[in-house]
């Protein structure tokens, strides 16, 4: 196991290094000056600003300086507003994590309930409902869902705030929008697995021993059905992180997603780069953690020795 963790961890570092290097050189090879309205400034002023951001130095020196800063957690300074990129991202981080985690938990709970019910009541309306929900959840992009929720529940019915940020009510609609794809995936996997597990011999044994139905469902069936659901957790977490990019900008949540999208629109390249790295770290660590969890939950899976 330790060897596997070490191997995965070093692969993660290599991946991150490639991302950082590629992003850095791509951004610096973009045409045009990072300064806005550069033509209106005198050459002296331009030179002074470039020097202030260290952009007058040769590219490889800038690169090593950036890496040096990165090791200390410094992502540079935003060109658009002169603040530290790390600080700005951290400001957005709490809002993003809140709606993301809330959406993930909501999605898992609803998905589990739906999947278990569908498997227990196979070929009834509950089953069809769960299948329908999961097909729609996979098909409808979260930003379409977000906009629809914002309009119908926020504007038309006025039950919850349609956008902006502040109280707890503001977090509900974005979380629901993010949870939908999770519900779809989890319920689908749990249903498939539950159906299979319910037909196993040990289920009959448990029934014969006179264990209550609830205990059989939860202890024997659900526990075994959960394992494959865990495998999709990594991609799901990554999906929530990606989905939050647009969901945040629809609900005007002041999170990282909004910062990222705004920085792309305003061509604030240090900000884009900082957010890209931040997002990569998040997604890659999520996948890493899930892979490890998977091995711990199901000891039958010997990832360390597994070969494709």
């Amino acid at each position: 196991m330790a060897r596997y963790i070490l191997k995965r961890f070093s692969l993660m570092i290599v991946t991150l290094f490639i991302i950082i290097t590629a992003t850095f050189f791509l951004i610096h090879s973009l045409p045009g000056s990072p300064l806005q309205n550069a033509e209106k400034l005198t050459p002296e002023l331009q030179a002074q600003i470039l020097a202030q951001y260290g952009l007058d130095q040769p590219i490889h020196i800038q690169y090593f300086k950036y890496l040096g800063g990165l090791v200390q957690g410094d992502l540079g300074t935003s060109i658009a507003n002169g603040q530290s990129v790390t600080g700005l991202l951290m400001n957005g981080f709490s809002a993003s994590v809140f709606i993301g985690a809330q959406g993930l938990i909501l999605g898992i709970v609803i998905g589990l309930i739906l999947g278990v019910l569908a498997a227990l009541k196979r070929n009834t309306w509950i089953d069809s409902f769960a299948t329908g929900t999961s097909i729609i959840g996979v098909s409808v992009p979260s930003f379409v869902l977000a906009a629809t929720l914002s309009y119908f529940i926020g504007v038309e019915l006025g039950w919850l705030p349609a956008n902006l940020w502040g109280t707890y009510e503001h977090t509900i609609l974005p979380s629901i929008a993010l949870s939908f794809p999770v519900v779809a995936q989890i319920s689908r996997y749990v249903r498939t697995e539950m159906v299979e597990v319910l037909e196993q011999d040990y289920m009959r044994t448990a029934k014969a021993k006179g264990i209550s139905r609830l205990a059989i469902t939860v202890k024997h069936a659900l526990r075994n059905a959960l394992i494959p659901a865990v495998t999709v957790m990594g991609p799901l977490a990554a999906g929530i992180i990606t989905g939050s990019l647009v969901v945040e900008s629809i609900f005007a949540v002041p999170g990282m997603g909004k910062i990222f999208v705004d920085s792309i629109t305003s061509k604030d390249y240090t900000m884009v780069m900082g957010s890209t790295i931040f997002y990569s770290v998040l997604i890659i660590s999520a996948l890493f953690i899930v892979d490890l969890l998977y091995g711990i939950i199901d000891p039958r899976i010997r990832i360390s020795g597994a070969k494709e």
């Binding site: 590629a22 992003t23 992009p141 906009a147 309009y151 504007v155 629809i250 890209t276």
Partner: protein, 309 residues
């Protein structure tokens, strides 16, 4: 067990010559594809999906001919009309452009990007997966390590970086999507080829002196077609989603052009006042993705009955 039975000598007569015809097939033979079609035909969801795809496809081609407007003419006097007046079946947008025209024009662009991206996916994925699976050994190991690194980079990051670097347009977006999309395709092809290449018919072909190229193209790839087709039907909605996503965050199709994602993004800005500008393209996008997913599910069940859940 309890009933008594009388045994007569006739019962022990050999049945005899009947087995001459034992090898004869009474039913008409059904090939793999026919068999799959028979199964596909029974899947209601998949048929609905096909019907929806046909309707959207036809509207994307012929929809623009159905009224007298075009997708780019602005008329500020009639902006944000939600009613169907003067042939504006879906109303107009914030520049008074006809939404019906823009939605179908956008759907066409979105579909073009998706098909182009998936075509590139298949070409790259099948080539690399095929080579990796067929030759195995060091080549396979090298390719798999390379894929491992690519796979662990979040695809959104690659796509965003590429699009900031390339001039946005249909081709650029398709390339950006394909550059990450080929990885799952190559994995599927590789896994299948690994399984197939040790089968007797491949050995037979090799003994008869067939070249690698011939074995790959004539013997192995046709047998991998099923999984490839299934992967394609699921890649298309994912490519449509990425295009919409990119256009939404401002990295895809640029205004005044149209794509479903761009239309949704424009509609989102005036959502609270004029929801119809968002709802129409959002509806078309959702139905399109739903249809592809339904067809994909149907194809998977039809082509690979063992995987049926």
């Amino acid at each position: 067990m309890s009933t008594e039975k009388t045994y007569t000598p006739e019962l022990f007569e050999p049945i005899g010559q009947l087995e001459k015809r034992a090898e004869q097939l009474n039913r008409k033979q059904v090939g793999v594809w026919k068999d799959a079609w028979l199964r596909f035909r029974q899947n209601k969801g998949a048929l609905i999906g096909v019907a929806l795809l046909l309707v959207i496809g036809l509207l994307a081609i012929f929809g623009p001919l159905m009224n007298d407007h075009n997708w780019e003419t602005q008329n500020l006097a009639i902006k944000n009309q939600s009613a169907n007046i003067d042939g504006h079946y879906m109303g107009t947008d914030h520049f008074g452009r006809d939404l019906w025209q823009r939605v179908w024009y956008g759907a066409k662009i979105s579909l073009e990007i998706a098909f182009l991206a998936v075509f590139l996916d298949v070409v790259i994925g099948v080539t690399i997966g095929g080579i990796s699976g067929y030759f195995g050994g060091r080549i396979d190991m090298f390719i798999q390590r390379f894929i491992e690194v690519i796979y662990s980079i979040p695809n959104l990051i690659i796509i965003i970086m590429l699009l900031m670097w390339m001039e946005p347009g249909i081709l650029a977006i398709a390339i950006a999507i394909a550059l990450t999309g080929w990885v799952p395709m190559s994995r599927i092809v590789r896994a299948q080829i690994l399984k197939l290449r040790s089968q007797e018919y491949v050995l037979a072909a090799r003994t008869l002196g067939a070249s690698h190229k011939r074995i790959l193209l004539k013997h192995l790839i046709p047998n991998v077609m099923g999984p490839i087709i299934i992967a394609v039907t699921f890649s298309i909605p994912s490519a449509i989603f990425f295009e919409a996503f990119l256009s939404f965050i401002g990295l895809g199709i640029r205004p005044p052009e149209a794509s479903l994602g761009l239309l949704i993004s424009e509609g989102n800005q005036i959502l609270q006042l004029f929801p119809h500008v968002l709802l129409w393209p959002a509806l078309v996008l959702s139905v399109l993705m739903l249809a592809f997913n339904l067809v994909g599910d149907g194809l998977r069940d039809a082509l690979d009955p063992r995987m049926k859940k």
